[in-house]
C-alpha cells in the first residue's frame, strides 16, 4: 500500500491534489502568484463566491447527474440484453450512436428553452448525455461475454437473475466503469459551460474572467477544472483496472478505442 503511494505517477497526483486543496482552502495566499496576469490593479482572486463553494457545487451537479445516468443506463442495457427487451436492441444501439454525435453544448443549450435557467437544464443535459457512454459500454460488456462462461453458469443451475448478478455484471464491470468515467469527464466539461445559463459552478470564474478581461480569473477557473477532471478520470481508471484484475481479463481501460467513441467532448 505504502509502496503503491510512492510510485512517481501517484506521488505527482497526490502533490497536485494537495496543491489544489491548499489553493481552495486559502486562495488569498496565492494572490501574488496570479497577480502578473492582471492589469490595472484588478483583483487576481475571484471573490464573488468562494472558490470552494463553487467547486463543491460543480462536483455535486456532476455527481448527481452521472449517478442518475449510471442507474438508468445500466438498467436499460440490462433490459435490452434480456429476451423481453431484445426488440429494442437494434434501435437503442442506433439511438446511442446518433446521440453521441450530438455536441454536449447543443444538448445543454436545447434544454434551456425546455427547462429555464439555472441548475435544472445543466443537470438535465448532463444526465441525458451521460446516459450514452454508460449505456453503450454496458451493452458491449454484456453482449461480448465469452459464451462458454455464460453456458457454464447455466449448466451450474444458476437462474437468469443469479447469472446476471454473479457472472455477467461482474465480468462487464470494467467496461461499465469506463463508461461512467467518460460520462463524468464529459459532465465536468459541460457543467463548466452550464455557468453561461446561470448554473453554479467553476465556469462562473472563467466567464467572469472573459467578461472583465481578467486573465487571472480565467486561468484559476481553468486550472481548477482541468485538475479536477484529470484526477477524477484517473480515479475511475484505477478502479476499472482493479475490477479487471479481480476478474483476470485484459484491461478495458488500457485498450485504445478505435470505434468512434468520444473521450472528451464539451
Amino acid at each position: 500500500m505504502i509502496r503503491d503511494l510512492l510510485r512517481p505517477g501517484i506521488l505527482l497526483r497526490l502533490v497536485v491534489f494537495a496543491a489544489l486543496v491548499a489553493f481552495l482552502a486559502a486562495p488569498d495566499r496565492f494572490a501574488g502568484l496570479l497577480a502578473p496576469l492582471t492589469s490595472n490593479g484588478a483583483p487576481s482572486i475571484y471573490t464573488q463566491s468562494s472558490l470552494i463553494d463553487l467547486t463543491l457545487a460543480h462536483l455535486f451537479t456532476v455527481a448527481l447527474s452521472t449517478f442518475a445516468a449510471a442507474v438508468l443506463a445500466v438498467g436499460l442495457a440490462i433490459f435490452v440484453t434480456r429476451p423481453a427487451g431484445v426488440e429494442f436492441l437494434a434501435l437503442s444501439r442506433a439511438i446511442v450512436n446518433i446521440g453521441q454525435t450530438f455536441p454536449p453544448v447543443a444538448v445543454l443549450a436545447l434544454s434551456v428553452p425546455a427547462m429555464g435557467f439555472g441548475e435544472a437544464p445543466t443537470r438535465m443535459a448532463l444526465f441525458l448525455y451521460g446516459l450514452l457512454p454508460i449505456f453503450e459500454n454496458t451493452l458491449v460488456g454484456l453482449s461480448t461475454l465469452p459464451p462458454a462462461v455464460v453456458e457454464t453458469a447455466s449448466a451450474m443451475g444458476m437462474t437468469g437473475r443469479q447469472r446476471l448478478l454473479k457472472v455477467e455484471l461482474p465480468l462487464a464491470m470494467p467496461l461499465i466503469i469506463e463508461g461512467i468515467r467518460l460520462s463524468a469527464v464529459i459532465g465536468l466539461a459541460t457543467a463548466t459551460i452550464g455557468s453561461t445559463v446561470a448554473a453554479k459552478g467553476l465556469g462562473e470564474v472563467i466567464v467572469a474572467g472573459l467578461l472583465s478581461n481578467n486573465l487571472a480569473f480565467i486561468v484559476q477557473g481553468g486550472v481548477i477544472t482541468g485538475i479536477l477532471a484529470v484526477l477524477i478520470s484517473d480515479i475511475f481508471t484505477a478502479v476499472a483496472r482493479r475490477a479487471t484484475k479481480r476478474r483476470g481479463a485484459p484491461s478495458a481501460a488500457a485498450r485504445t478505442e478505435p470505434d468512434g467513441r468520444q473521450t472528451s467532448g464539451a
Partner: protein
Amino acid sequence: MTTLADAEMGGTATPRFDRLGVVIAIAAGTGLRLFDALPTMGAVAVAAALVAALVAAMASRRPLFRLALGALALAALALGAGAAGAHLTPTDNPYARIAPASGFWLGLFATAMLMTDAMVRLKLGPLGRLVALVITAALVAALLASGAWSHLSLIAEYRNRADVFWREAESHLLLAAGSLAAAAIIGLPLGVLAYQVRAVRDPLINILNIIQTIPSMALFGILIAPLGWVAAHVPGAHAIGIRGIGMAPAFVALFLYSLLPMMANTVVGLSGVSRAVVDAARGMGLTGRQRLMQVEIPLALPVILAGIRIVLVQNIGLATVAALIGGGGFGVFLFQGLGQTATDLILLGALPPVALAFAAAVLLDAVIEISARGKA
C-alpha cells in the same frame, strides 16, 4: 407561441402489436391541437398522415413500408408547421413570432424514431446510407428554400442575420476542419513514430490523454495566456492573426484535442497489421519505408479513418464553445440566444452543428466501411 400541443389522438395501442411501434405511438399519440393552428382542411390532412404512420408503426413490420410512412408523417409535420406559421401570423403585425411548440417536437421525435428503426432494419450498406444522407439534405434544403417555413420564427431570425450566419458557418468549418487537418499532418507521423519507438509511446499517450480530459472551456481559457504572450513578444505573430483571444486559442485547443485520437488510432491500426504480411513484404525486398507506405499504412487505413471520424465529430461540437472566447462559429448565435433567452437564436446556433456532426459521422462511417472491405 400557440400551436401543436397536447390532446389525444391515435394513442390507443394494444400490446399485441409490435412493441416498439406501441412506444413510438404513445410518444407521438399525445397528439396535436391541430385544429386551433391550421385551417380545417390542412388540419385534417396533417392528422390523417400522422394517424396513418402511427397505425403502420403498430401494425406492420415491413421496414420499407414503415420508412415510407415515417417520411410521409414527417413531411406532413414539416409542411403543417409551416402552414400553421402562415395561418397564425397576424397580417397587421410584422413582429409577431410563431414557433412550433412541444407537440411538434414530440411528433418530430416519434417519426424520427420510427424512421431510424426502419433504417436499422433495412440494413443499408454504406452507399445506401450515403444516398439516404444526400436525399435528406436535399429535402431539408428544398424545404428551407421553398419558403414553406418563412413564417416560422427560426427562419425569421435567420433572415435577419443571413450574412453573419454564413460568415460564422465559415469560421465554424475552418475551426473544425482546419484543426483536423493540422492534427492529421502532425498526428500521423507522431503515430508512426510511437508505433516504431516503444519508449515514446506511453509518455506521449499519457500526456495527450491528460489534455483530452481537460474541459474545453478551461483549455480555451488557459491557452489565452500563452498565446497572448506570443502575440505580444514574438515578431510577426500578431501579423499572422495570433491573438490571446479569438480564433487562435480555439484553433490550438481543438488541434490539441485532435492529436490523441489521430495518434492513438494510427498506433492501433499499424499494430493490427498481420506480421505475416509484413514479413512477406520484407521477403519481397521492400525497404522499411516502402513497407510502411505501401503495405502497413494502407492496411491500417480503416482504423486511421476511424480516428479522423472521432476528431471531426468532436471538433464540430467543440467549435461551438469557441464563441465564448471570441473564436466565432455557430456558438455565437447559441450563446447570444442563451443571453437573451431567445429560443429561436439558440436553435439557430445549436441545430447546424448537430446536423453537421451527424452528417460527418454518417459520411465517414460509410467511407470507413468501404475502405475496410477486403482488408479484414
